[in-house]
Each structure stands twice: as C-alpha cells, then as structure tokens.
C-alpha cells in the first residue's frame, strides 16, 4: 500500500497461520476486512465490534496481530492498544485509519502500535501490509514521517497533542524520515545514506518503538532525561 509495500519482497512471510483480531464497529468495513484477510492463505481472523468484545477475546487468546479502529462505541482504541501492548508484548498492533491522518496514527503509535492500515486499502495491499508487519516491517506514510520529523526538530510544545517522544531519534533515523516525507523509495534512501535496502523497514519499526511512551514509569524517565522534571 505504501512505498514500503511497493519495495517489499512479499515472499518473506511467517510459517503457520497468522491470527488476527479485527476490532471495528462499522459492520460493512469489518466484514470487508475480514473477508479479505480470511480469503488469503495463512490467516485466521477473530472479530470484535466493541471494546468489550475485544477485551473478551484478548482474555482468551493472544493474537499475532491486533487490527483496531480508534473510535469504538464503548471507548477508545488507544486504551485497547495500551492494554494489549502491556499484557501481550508479542502481539503486533496496527491501527485502522480512515484518512491515514497523523493525529490518529501518531496517537496509536505513541501507545504501542507499529503500523496503520487505511480502511479503503485495496484487498491485496491489506494482506501484504499485515504480513509485512509480522515480518518486522512497519509501514509509514510520507505525511506521518513529515509529522515526526517536524516534531523532532521543533522545540517541544506541551500543549500540542498527541505527545510524542522524539528525543531518542538518531540523526540517521531523522534522515530516513526526511527521505520518506519527500517521497523517496527505500532503495533511494538506502543508496543515499549508504545503508542496505533491507535494513530501512527495520529502522522504521525502531523509530516507532522509540516514539512510544507506553508506561508511566517510562514517561517519567523520559521527562527526567529531557530535563522536564528535576528530581
């Protein structure tokens, strides 16, 4: 679906079925996504229409991938992502976004999601994106890369939401984000920065992980590191 997917070698997939928990309140969309994924070989899909249903499923089983919408009738997807990230560290989390806008995607990333999926993505792209995520390759869009770089390079403004922890990003990671924001392919970026093309998607996941502020303790630690709190 993104430049990442275009460059990706999709033969890299895990052996065994990938279990996906799909949380989406809009029935047509949920059914469409379920049909696409269930129709692909190597996927089993559980679905939930509300936060409560999703929690019930997560109580019984640990899915490989949590695919969740943010606006749910009985709560916010961000809470679900935070809980899952804390309880099931092995589960990859992906947010389903209507517009791919940075507000919803970054909010999800900051609590532990490492990818996003557009709700109107083409069927082939949906399966490929989920497989890539399981393989450790996080998708990123130009506008999200732009948003992260912008946040990393400007003075932190406490009033701006969502909060984002950009302090730990390395100059190289920022260069990669700039390349993505300007529409260059992973191959172009790798060539320009003297990296191996295969390592770029891994960098994206590492960037997402660094942006995450998933526990109170870590948030305090980061605040101390950045000099926001004096002990």
């Amino acid at each position: 679906m993104t430049a990442a997917a275009a460059d990706m070698d999709s033969s890299v997939g895990p052996s065994g079925a990938i279990m996906v928990l799909l949380v989406e309140d809009d029935a047509p969309t949920r059914e469409r996504l379920r049909d696409v994924l269930a129709g692909e070989p190597g996927f089993t899909v559980r679905e939930a229409g509300t936060l409560a249903e999703a929690r019930a499923v997560l109580g019984q089983t640990a899915p490989d991938v949590l695919l969740t919408d943010l606006q749910l009738p009985d709560g916010h997807g961000v809470d679900l992502i935070r809980e899952t990230r804390a309880r099931l560290p092995g589960t990859e989390i992906m947010v389903i976004s209507i517009l791919g806008d940075e507000e919803s995607v970054i909010a999800a990333i900051s609590v532990g999601a490492t990818g996003y999926l557009l709700k109107d993505a083409f069927p082939t792209d949906i399966a490929a994106t989920v497989r890539d995520l399981v393989a450790g390759h996080s998708p990123i869009s130009a506008s999200i890369a732009r948003f992260i770089v912008r946040r990393a390079q400007r003075e932190p403004d406490a009033a701006v939401r969502p909060q984002l922890n950009t302090a730990r990003l390395t100059p190289r990671e920022i260069d990669i984000l700039w390349g993505i924001a300007k529409g260059f392919s992973y191959a172009d970026i790798a060539a320009h920065l003297g990296l191996s093309r295969q390592t770029v998607p891994g960098h994206i996941k590492s960037i997402y992980r660094k942006l995450e502020v998933n526990t109170r303790g870590e948030a305090v630690f980061e605040a101390v590191q950045q000099g926001l709190i004096k002990l």
């Binding site: 993104t2 047509p28 969309t29 606006q71 709700k119 869009s141 130009a142 172009d188």
Partner: protein
Amino acid sequence: MSAGAQPTGAGATSLSARWPRSRFALLHLSLQATFVVLCLFAINVSLPTPDRSHAVQEATVAGPNGAAPVRLPTTFPGPTPRLINLALSFTAPEKLTEEWSVMTPRFTNAAQILVNGVVVLDTRRKASNNRPDRNAADIAVIPAQLLRPGVNELGVRLHVWGPLSGFLDTLYVGPDSALRDAYDWRVLLFSTLPVVFSSWQVILAMVLGIMWFKRRQETAYGVLAAAMALGALHTFLIPPEQPSWLAGVRAAAIGSAPLESSLVLVFCMLFLGRRLTPLFTVLALAPGAIIVITGLAGGPEMVRLAFVWLGLPAIALSLGGVVWLTHAAALSRRDLISVLLASAATVLMTCLIRDVLTIVGALPDQRIFVTRMAYAAMMTMIGACLTWRFASALNEVDSFAGRLVTQVREAEDKLRASFAREEQRKHAAALASERTRLTRDLHDGLGGQLVSIVALAERNGAHGAQIGEAARSALRDLRLVIDAMDDIDGDLMLALGAWRERTAARLRPHDIRLDWRPLSPGGLPVHQELRPWHVIQLLRLLDEAVTNTVKHANASSITVSFGSFRDQGGAARGRIIIADDGHGFSGQATPQGRGLDNMRRRAARCGVAYSLDSEPDGVRITLDLPERFPETDNAA
C-alpha cells in the same frame, strides 16, 4: 579624580603587554638618561654672541680700597642693594663709516652704560629687563658725537638689589651691524619665545578651564588650568622698576613659582589616581600662598627672605614629588602617557639642578636660567597631550554612539523579524488547528461514510466496482485537501511525497508502476510563498494527468521527474515532468479533452508554464514552476 581613574584611556598605548617589568625599567632608565644628556647638550650650545674682536672684558671696579681689576664676565657677591661702578675702555677707528653700538648680553639686576661719561643705555627703562629670571640682553646706539677716534672711556653702573648677586657678562662695542644679529637672536630666544609659550599656556589654560567648568569631576584639568594661568600671569605681569611702591604685585609675581610647582604636583597626583587628602593639598599650596601674602603685606626684603627660605625648598620638594610620582607611575603602569610625564619631569629636574648650580656660583661666568622656559615648554606639551586625549575620548564617545545606533537598529530589525516570525508561527498554528478540526470532522463523518460505501460496493461484486472507485476517488480527494493544508514550509517535495504514496496505491490495481526520479540532488527549490491552494491545484493537475494515463494511455509505467535548474536570470526554478509509456493521443484526432483544459487552467492559476507533448511512445507533461508563486488566484 576621574581623570586619574582612567589615565591609560584614549590616546595612551599600553606597553605592558609587550614588555616585562625588568626590561621595561631598564629601557625607561636609559630613556631618561638620554633625555638628561640631550638636555645638557642643548643648554651648553653656545648662545649667539658677536665677534670676539668687539668684546670688552678688562675692567676696574672702584672699591673702598681703591680700584681693583676684574675680567668680565664676573659675579659680584656681597650685600644688597648696592651700586657697583666699573671702568672700561675701547678703541674706535679714526674714521667712522657706520653707526656704533654697545651691547650688554646679560646683567643682574640693572646696568647704566656710559660712553665718555655720558649715559647711552639704561636697562631699567625696559621693564622686562628688571626680571632676574629673564635672560635679558640690551643694546644701544652710541651717538656719533660722543665717539672719539682712538681710546674711549666705557663706564658701567651696575645696580644690584637681590635676591641674586650682581652679574655682568662681557660687553660688546662695535659697528651696530656686527652686534645687532646676536642681540636679535637673544631677544627671540629669551623674550619672544617665552611670550609665545605663555600665549599657548593662556589658550590651554582657557581650554582646560572650560573643560573643567563643564566637567567638574575632572579636577585634574582644573588644577592644570590654574597652574597654566598662573604661569602666563607670571610672564606678562611686569614688575615695576626697583625700588618701587608696588611691592605686592612684584611679590605675587615672584611667589607664583612655588605656587605653580605645587599646583603641578597636585595635578600629577590627581591625574595618576593618587589619593589626595585635604591636609596634603593645604600643605602643598601653603608656601606659595604665604609668599604671596608676605609680598602683599610685608616689604620686598620680607619677600626675598620668604622666597629663599620657603619658596625655593617648596619648588624643590614639589618638583621632587613630581619626579618620584611620574617615574613610579611609568614603571608600574608602563603606558605612553606616564612615560611622557616622567620624561617631562626628568627634563625639568635637570634644568632646575643646573639653575641652582648657577645661582650658588658653582658655574661661574654663567647667568642663563633655563628652568622657566623648559617648564613653559613642558606645560604646553602636557596641555596639548591632554587636549589630544580629550579629543580622542570624544571620538570614542562618537564611535560608541555610532555603535549604539547600529546595535539599536540591529536589535530593532531582529525584533521586527522575530515579530514577523511570531506572526507566521501564529498563522501556522491557526492553520494547523483548523486542519486538525477539519480532519476530525471528515474522519468522523464523511470519511467513515465513504469507507462504508467502498466496503458495501466491493461486496456487490463487479456491479459495485464503479461506485467503489468513485468513493475511493472522493476519499483520495479528501486526503489531498487535508494534506495541502499542512504546513510544509514551502517545500513542495513534502506534498509530492504524500501524493506519490496515494498515487502508487491507486495505480497498483491497474498494474501501472510509478517511478520517482529526481533530476537534481536538491530536488525542487523551496518556495516560502507557497500556499495550500497552490498545492491543491498542482496535485490535482498531477492527479488528472494520472487519470488520463489510467483511462486512455494503456501504459505500464508513469515516471515523475523533478529538479531545479537556473533560468536566464540565474534564479533557481523548479520543473516537474510527468510522463507515461502509453500510446499517446495517436488514436484521437484532437487531444483537447476536458481533462487537458482543466490541467492547463490549473497551471495558469498558479503561474506554472504547462506544456504537453504527445508522441506515439507516450505523453509527457512538463510543468515549469514560477520564480514566485502568485499571491492571488490568477483565475479569480
């Protein structure tokens, strides 16, 4: 005291950085020794005198024990006042061809000269001659009737009234032309030059006095002005002939020397930043003041006593203090002004010692006093230095003011720029928050509905494909509008980056590849004036080009190339080329579809030069970006 607080200020060069202390002391001492040698050399240069053949030196002095022979020049120690009669003679030629004159180069205190018993010259008639500290010479023409061929009598009545012993230098008698030159030279040296120095002192006293008057904290300037004024008064105040009823004025004139020297001492202390207690000031100025008061109240004899017992030690002490102060300052500060002051003190001290030796008779046959002139010259020099320093300080103030003006202007510019930046930031923040609001609205409303339509259409199979495509197209457009509102700081590349993603996703089901090819390393130039509506127009133009390719061209790839190039004016201009590898418009007679018109119109609205080439191997649209994007919509 403030003058002393900054003695190394404007005009003074600090030597301390370059010279270590011991090396500097050695250098300073050798410099002072050089000054002493130069000074002695200058004093001993023989004064202009007429030819020796006109000299009259052999005399007899009438005394109580009969006549005694003396040879001029000679001093006459003894009680004062008294009158000394000398008898001399000279030989005149048989026939006079020109006027003859008699010249007395130096005398103390006054001389009447008689030729053959007739007075031809009385030095007392010229008031300035009566000052013993002036090295006065006098000349008179001998009336022709008085001259006899052969031996003539020459008589001198030397009046001595103290405080110095009597003195008479060699007399010269001869043709006026032979004597006049030497006389004129002496007048220039001992009469005109002191007047010139004194005039300078008057002027400097006024300048320094005005400086002090306008800047009372500069006490040193005021003290120096007082010393100079007193010196000038000393020169121009001519005492009347002795004996006189105006003894007080004369006393003031004599008494001014100790007062002057103590004022100079006070000046040095102030200037060099020494602490000056009121008691010290009173003690320093007391001798001079006492002499003046004595002169006004008591008789001439009292003044003489006061001057000898009080005035001379006061002068010596003051000058000694000045020498010590200035040399200490020169050695510790090692700056140009201190060294200059110390040198001046050295020269003055040398002159004073020589004059004292003259007075006590250690240097017989001499009665030329140099201290007063050296003092006047030094004061003039110091005054000039101070004025120079003052002017330099003014220059510094001027340049400081200039710097201040520049700094204020710079600060203003910075403030203005930061204000503009702040305005821009506020504008960007407002835009961002508006965009967030819009995104949220679209996300919650229209976006969700369109996504549902896509899902529903897809479930209807081929039947709903068209509906799905339309809904996807609407979603794409929504994303485009939101994207265009983002603050991209004029970097069109950022907008193109997001467009590339959307377009690649859109082309993938059609099996069309999207190639991205930068033509120059920097990509497109940054346009600070770029506004969201420019971005929307350009991205829609590109969308329409892609739509045309998808619908009509039967292409397998689309290549977007971009880069900057220099136009004729040297400005950086951006260019975007979007090309496909389809079959072009070969199938159509007129490629003037509605899509093409739209693209042309969008380009024109943004000031972009649009050109389209259709070849059998593909369509190529070239967009040449303007140097500046128009502020207002050209179509509006």
